[in-house]
């Protein structure tokens, strides 16, 4: 109970406040409350959680990986997840640096290299985790059922390719910018497949502490996908009103990823 209360007070309450701040700004940007903040202050409120949360998640994932003995399938999965989260952290840190030096509209940048590499490694980490759990022997399900769930989620992801990517492909933008705006949602759709499998695994563990880890991880991935899709539209189609909502979604995504690692860390601590 103490651990749960500490998680709520130190983690979930600050995260909810940060998310609520930007959801409120997205819904009522002219509200008096937001007029009391300078644009610089709002930018810092949005930037800091986006740097701190993936950084925390990367460190916690590394600590979790090191707690698993060599040869344990989860060790490599969590290790790769840590590397992927570290890539996202470096990407956000780069954006923060550009903002701190007064360059507010830098896209593409070196940060995108970190984001793309981070996403690729994160997908590999998630696949390794799913593979490890499927082979653990604890999940009493036939392999073909796992493959079936993966196939259905792949078809669902593929069905989103045209409606999501076509408007971005048709928009006028410099080639590198357009390429990145296509790469991000494509990687996200790829990430959807292990995320769906993780959700399915979490459902089988419902009611237990393991389920909390996987539910938070899958939610983190799903919100990251949502954030990248919104960013693609925002960047290429100039939907300026989506700005605060994108901040809220990314903070929630990184918060859920960090929460999953927090829970896993607490779970394996003997």
């Amino acid at each position: 109970v103490n651990q749960h209360a500490r998680n709520v007070v130190l983690f979930w309450v600050p995260l909810t406040l940060a998310v609520a701040f930007f959801v409120g700004q997205g819904m009522a940007p002219e509200a008096t409350f937001y007029a009391s903040f300078s644009p610089t202050a709002i930018s810092w409120i949005g930037s800091l959680p986006k740097v701190v949360l993936p950084g925390l998640a990367a460190v916690w994932a590394l600590a979790v990986a090191r707690r698993f003995e060599r040869g344990n399938a989860a060790r490599s999965g969590w290790g790769m997840t840590s590397a992927g989260l570290f890539g996202l952290f470096l990407g956000q840190l780069t954006l923060l640096y550009f903002y701190a030096v007064g360059q507010t509209d830098v896209f593409p940048s070196i940060g995108d290299l970190f984001f793309v590499a981070g996403c690729v490694v994160l997908v590999i980490g998630l696949v390794l985790l799913v593979r490890g759990y499927a082979m653990s022997g604890l999940l009493s399900v036939p392999a073909r059922q796992l493959v079936g769930v993966a196939a259905v989620s792949a078809v669902a992801a593929a069905s989103l390719v045209v409606p999501l990517l076509l408007p971005i492909a048709r928009a006028t933008a410099p080639p590198l910018e357009k390429a990145l705006n296509l790469i991000y949602p494509s990687l996200d759709l790829l990430m959807l497949i292990p995320a769906v499998l993780l959700t399915w695994i979490a459902f089988r563990f419902r009611g237990g502490r393991i389920a909390a880890v996987w539910t938070a991880l899958a939610a983190g991935v799903l919100f990251t996908v949502a954030g990248d899709i919104l960013w693609g539209y925002f960047s290429n189609l100039d939907y300026l009103q989506l700005g605060p909502l994108i901040d809220a979604v990314y903070i929630l995504a990184y918060g859920c990823l960090a929460a999953s690692l927090l829970y896993q860390r607490q779970l394996i601590a003997s």
């Binding site: 082979m135 653990s136 022997g137 604890l138």
Partner: protein, 128 residues
């Protein structure tokens, strides 16, 4: 005689606390002592009681649904059937559950969970 017995039991207690799987005939009592069974007659436990003990320990970690199906699934894999299990078969079952749990909980936490399961099962009455 008593000294020789102590020499045999104390290392076994130490190995047990390090996650060592005791011989099927050497099961820990709930009070922490070791009961050495007569190896010519392996004790048996009611299968339903063994499942219930495993489910109780595993539920906080894997949820009630997975806790109730995991032990039954491992029994099928090991070919364990009947209304009661021999202690050797129970040891195999618990070890098998540990192999799966390690991927989710890590070695240290799994050793704790398995020790709790073994204690819970050792506290069960023997099947007639």
């Amino acid at each position: 005689m008593a000294t020789a017995g102590r020499r045999a039991i104390v290392p076994m207690i130490e190995r047990y606390h390090r996650g060592y799987t005791p011989h099927p005939d050497h099961f820990p009592r709930q009070d922490g002592g070791i009961r050495v069974e007569n190896s010519t007659r392996a004790a048996r436990r009611q299968a339903a009681a063994v499942f219930a003990a495993i489910e109780t320990v595993l539920t906080p970690y894997v949820g009630r649904n997975m806790a109730s199906t995991a032990a039954a699934a491992q029994c099928r894999r090991l070919g364990l059937e009947g209304a009661s299990f021999a202690e050797g078969d129970i040891a195999k079952l618990v070890d098998r559950l540990g192999l799966g749990l390690k991927v989710f909980l890590g070695e240290a936490r799994t050793a704790e969970v398995l020790a709790t399961i073994r204690n819970a099962i050792a506290a069960l009455p023997e099947a007639p």
